[in-house]
Each structure stands twice: as structure tokens, then as C-alpha cells.
Symmetry: C2
Amino acid sequence: MKNTHASPIAARGPADHNVRDQIVAAATDHFSRYGYEKTTVSDLAKAIGFSKAYIYKFFESKQAIGEMICANCLREIENDVRAAVDAAEHPPEKLRRMFKTIVEASLRLFFQDRKLYEIAASAAGERWQATVAYEERIRDLLQEIVQQGRLSGDFERKTPLDETTKAIYLVMRPYLHPLLLQYNFDNTEEAPAQLSSLVLRSLSP
Amino acid sequence: MKNTHASPIAARGPADHNVRDQIVAAATDHFSRYGYEKTTVSDLAKAIGFSKAYIYKFFESKQAIGEMICANCLREIENDVRAAVDAAEHPPEKLRRMFKTIVEASLRLFFQDRKLYEIAASAAGERWQATVAYEERIRDLLQEIVQQGRLSGDFERKTPLDETTKAIYLVMRPYLHPLLLQYNFDNTEEAPAQLSSLVLRSLSP
């Protein structure tokens, strides 16, 4: 994974990553005001008060900075989803919470700020590493829940686990993918509950 | 419905609609060569050899012509889907065929010709009447299949019929909506079968 050195914007420490974090924080601010596409590394350098060469010591390109911002944003969504899942006791409820929370957190992070949406859209459209890794982790979480439900007897066990997981992921995907989510605004209130119910019916033993 | 006078491009007859059909056929050809957005009614008039005023006698705007082209295109998809559904005997197989065929026909009609995709995208994005009516008819067809399956004993009857239909429609929607479908190209081979299986598991009595 490219972004193993990523740490959340909020968690700045006395570590080596201090300057990287500073650049990412300033870039997040700058992109959200002026847009990701329109901003160059020179603009960024000027705005932050670093030289362009200094920024290039830490990030090889604008996209590398965008990837870090994107990774932070996706990590935040994932944390919200994990917290919601952990707070529920039974696998069926975990699944409902997962769907509901991933839509709410995605809407909040991708769309409250139209300028940061641009980064998320590029990331999803061009399949940046941070997005691919995020999708994998979401699928893993889903598989954990399905597996727990199989062990507890809440879910059927006939269908191969990966087939079940993949199909449920396909049902969720239009509501977590920023480029798809923008065409689902009319449905974000009701769809997660309706689709969760359908999925749970499909899982009944 | 706005487009009750619509007749498929191919089926020109000696009727009153002859000139309308001629304009639609010529416009389809022109749009697919030069694009819908870029073409004006003046361009169209010049290309067809009619006066602009004469075209306005039959269509109140460029969008009205676009709507007719779009309605024809959606009608073609719907015919394909209905034929596939009718060819299957049992409700579960009808549902599988419906999903498979709607994806194939939509891909063929929306994306084989990138220029006509523009019309479909405007229609879906701006919720033209032709699109809204099409979506309703697709939901109706889905409801018919679910109802047949309930009567034949293939599907469960506990969940309210409209709840079941709406949820299945939400599962299909990303694969029939042109703006969503463009982000699902990677999945159009496998997803219809995987999602049909999930839906059928959710319908089991």
C-alpha cells in the first residue's frame, strides 16, 4: 500500500511526519477553497509559504497530496462505520447500521464540501490506491458481519461466503461510490433501509 | 403522457405522423453524428432541408425532438426486455432474464453510440417525461413478475408487494440508468447474475 505513512489530519504529533501533515492540512484547506483540479503545486507552495522544491521532497506530485487527503477522508468514513457496527449487538442490526452509516458519512464527507468532492471523484474515477484499499476494507468488514451471522445462526450458510459478500457489496456500492452517490440523492433517505431489508431477507436461513 | 404520438423510427407509414417521423429520423442521424448538445434547431433545419418554422410546427423545441428519440430508444429496450421475460416460463427465470436483458439492451442503445448517449444522459439527468414513464413501466413489469411468483408459490408473500418491488427496482436501477451505468462497466458481465441470485434468495418462501 502506498499510504502506509498516512496519519489523520487531526492527529499531528512530534513525529517525522509533521511536515507532511502540515502540507496535507494546508492543501486540504486550499483545495477546498479553490478546487483540486485548478490548483497547481506552485499555487500550493505559494499559499503555504514553502518552496515548490520543498513540497516535492515530501510528495512526488499533486496527486500524491490528493491521495493522502482522500485516504484521510475515507479513513474517517471507515471509522464511523466501524463504530456503528461495533455498537450493534446482533449481525442483522450490524448490517443495517453499516449501510445507514456508510451513506450518511459518505454524504457528509463527499458532498458537504463540493470542492473536496472533486478529489473524491478523481480518486474513484481513476481508481487511486487509497480508494481501492478502502473498498477492500469495506468488503472485509461486510464479510466479517456475514460470517458472524452464519455462526450465530442468524444467516443462511448454503451460499458460498464470498458470493454472498460480493453480491451485498454490489447492492451497497452505488451508495458509497461518490460518482454514483451523486445520482442517488433522492434515495439516500429510504434506500439504505429498504435495501438492508431485502439483503436480510436474502440472508435468512 | 407527452409522447402518445410517438411511433418507432423504423415504422414509418402513410399516417399524419409521417413528417414528424421524418424529422425524428433525420434528427437521430444528425445528433448521432454531431452531438445533441451542440446542435441547434437551425442546424437541424438546414441538414434536413426544411425551414426552421416548419420544424417548429411539429416540435416546440429541440428537447421535444430529443424526447421523441429518447422515447423510441427506451421503447426499444422495453420491447427487448418484455420479449425476454415472455420467453421464460417460471417467475424466477423471468426475473433473471429481465435483469440480464435490461443491462444488455441499455449498454447497446446508450453506449454503442456515444453521441446518442448524450440524449439519454440529459433525459435521465433532467428527468424528462419519457424517462419517468419508462421507469414506471419497468417497475410495473417487475411487480407483475413478483406477483406471478407469489401466485405460483415460487416467492414469499409476507413482505408487502410494493415494498418488495421497490427494493428490487433499487437493486436494478444502477444498471438501467445511463448516468449510473457508465460507472458500472466493470460489473456488467457478472453483476446481473450475482444480484439476481441475491434477489431470488430474498424472495424465497
